[in-house]
């Protein structure tokens, strides 16, 4: 139970549920919002509403989109023969920054993690398989995080995809082990993409 009542406490509680925000920060942000000009606070509230109302997942690759297809899937200059498989839309940002990849993406929305109840059915694996048949994809680059769950997911997919006669590659090691793609610097990730190798399954 919080010290304050009514809307004040419920805002503190809501903020406190956000990742990386502890009870103290939640309280600090709440009192900050109490002080700012009404239009500034409203703009924040409206941004949250707009994101929830307008942002959807791309119907093809599960990247973030504004209804229908995402910006990358809509871009007809992209190479449709290669697809880069990532765990999270934020990883697309990381790969795009390297400038080393011109194909399309497929966002799994996670990685294999039995402890958290995530198996192949909870990931967008079936959708990936469907795309491979439809889009004329020749190479699949497995760009999951270089940690245990990411490596297991890459191995799982490689075993699934290789019998289909595709070139299946994995980004080169050299990324900090145990890390997230999101935090890798452009140069390192660029080199890892360039140095990708056909994966042993």
């Amino acid at each position: 139970m919080g010290v304050f009542s009514g809307p004040l406490q419920s805002l503190i509680d809501e903020l406190g549920r956000l990742p990386g925000i502890g009870p103290k920060s939640a309280q600090r942000i709440t009192f900050h919002l109490l002080k700012v000009a009404p239009e500034d606070a409203l703009r924040l509230a409206q941004s949250i509403i707009a994101v929830k109302e307008r942002i959807t997942l791309c119907t093809r690759c599960f990247n973030v989109a504004e209804g229908g297809l995402c910006a990358i899937c809509l871009d007809d200059r992209r190479d449709i023969t290669s697809v880069c498989v990532v765990e999270d839309p934020r990883d697309i940002v990381a790969v795009e920054k390297t400038g080393e990849f011109a194909g399309r993406y497929h966002v799994l929305q996670g990685a294999l993690n039995p402890i958290e109840g995530i198996g192949p059915d909870q990931l967008r694996v079936r959708e990936l398989l469907a795309r491979l048949g439809e889009e004329g994809i020749a190479e699949v680059i497995l760009c999951t995080n270089p940690n245990l769950e990411g490596e297991a997911t890459a191995m799982y997919l490689a075993r699934l995809l290789k019998p289909m006669g595709l070139v299946v590659t994995r980004i080169a090691s050299g990324l900090p082990v145990g890390g997230d793609l999101e935090y890798a610097d452009e140069l390192t990730l660029g080199r890892a993409l360039e140095g990708r190798r056909v994966i042993e399954a």
């Binding site: 039995p114 198996g119 059915d121 297991a152 799982y156 145990g178």
Partner: protein, 367 residues
Amino acid sequence: MYLASLSISEFRNFAEATILPDPTGTTVITGSNGAGKTSLLEAVGYLATLQSLRGSPKEAMVRIGAERAILRAVTMVGDRSMDIEAELAASGRSRTMVNRQTVRRRADLGEALRITVFSPDDIAVVRGGPAERRRFLDEALAVVAPKTTLHADETEKILRQRAALLRRAGKRLSPEVEATLDVWDARLDLAGTALVEAREALTEQLAPLAEQHYSRLAGKAVDVGLHYRRSWSGTLRDALAASRPDDLVRGITLVGPHRDELELTLSGLSGRTHTSQGEQRSMALALRLATHQLATERLGSAPVLLLDDVFSELDPYRTRALLEGLPPGQSILTTALPPPPEVAAATTYEVKPAGMVNALVSERGDG
């Protein structure tokens, strides 16, 4: 290598404390029981291993009422000065930096600070269950061959993922569970085999050293055996495949590095069940001394020795034998009683119950 300084704040019952251990000799930390002597060693231990020597969770090491504890050590490795700083949060993320670079895992601590710890609990390595002996090997590996902690960490994580998968499968092997299990098994085969090979190599290197140290402690030649026993034969991959039906029923992984045993024998008899308490104590000491010696040889300089209240449990004979068996180097020891006469304390600190640390008169000669 040596520890040049240790500063702690809001750690255990200490508000602030700093010690400057003697670089080449023995630093004694005295104080009554419960004053917090061991906490000082625990702080050094945390900076060397990123975990509590006492197995406490990180939050438990933060002083009650404080948000975070800060630990800082300056060490000298050859002629390089290293700065290790750890922040333990009462809630949320803790972090560690070596020379201002963030360190995520123990393997990345590198050579900044290496330790060998002696404690009265060491006897559990001989007397306790197989898990105690596996932990002893993995701890020794972390000092002697730090990269192997990657295999140990990965093996542990895979086993947890695999257990979760087995439980969720509910004794049924659907194609989907089978395909995912195949992947975890392949990863476990890689990490687990690497870990076990490292443990076996270490066992082989420790065996003759442990025998030497034990024989010296016993005052006569004794046949000491260290044998690593795998919980499977053939490749781990095949063993996991063979064990899968049973694993599925039991919901756990029945073969692998986490089921292995380090068998200890004295004159061919089991160290665990067929030896006296005195022999067990000597065996535990011999294992630590052997590890310390191997680490010193491998690293080119002795790890910092931490002796936590060891003399209270040892008779004068073993105390003398222990002190004589220690190679020259830096050591820090805690004791509630006056230290044995063989201990030539270069520096002494007294810990007061209020969490104050006083430097006592330095007994170091004028040179």
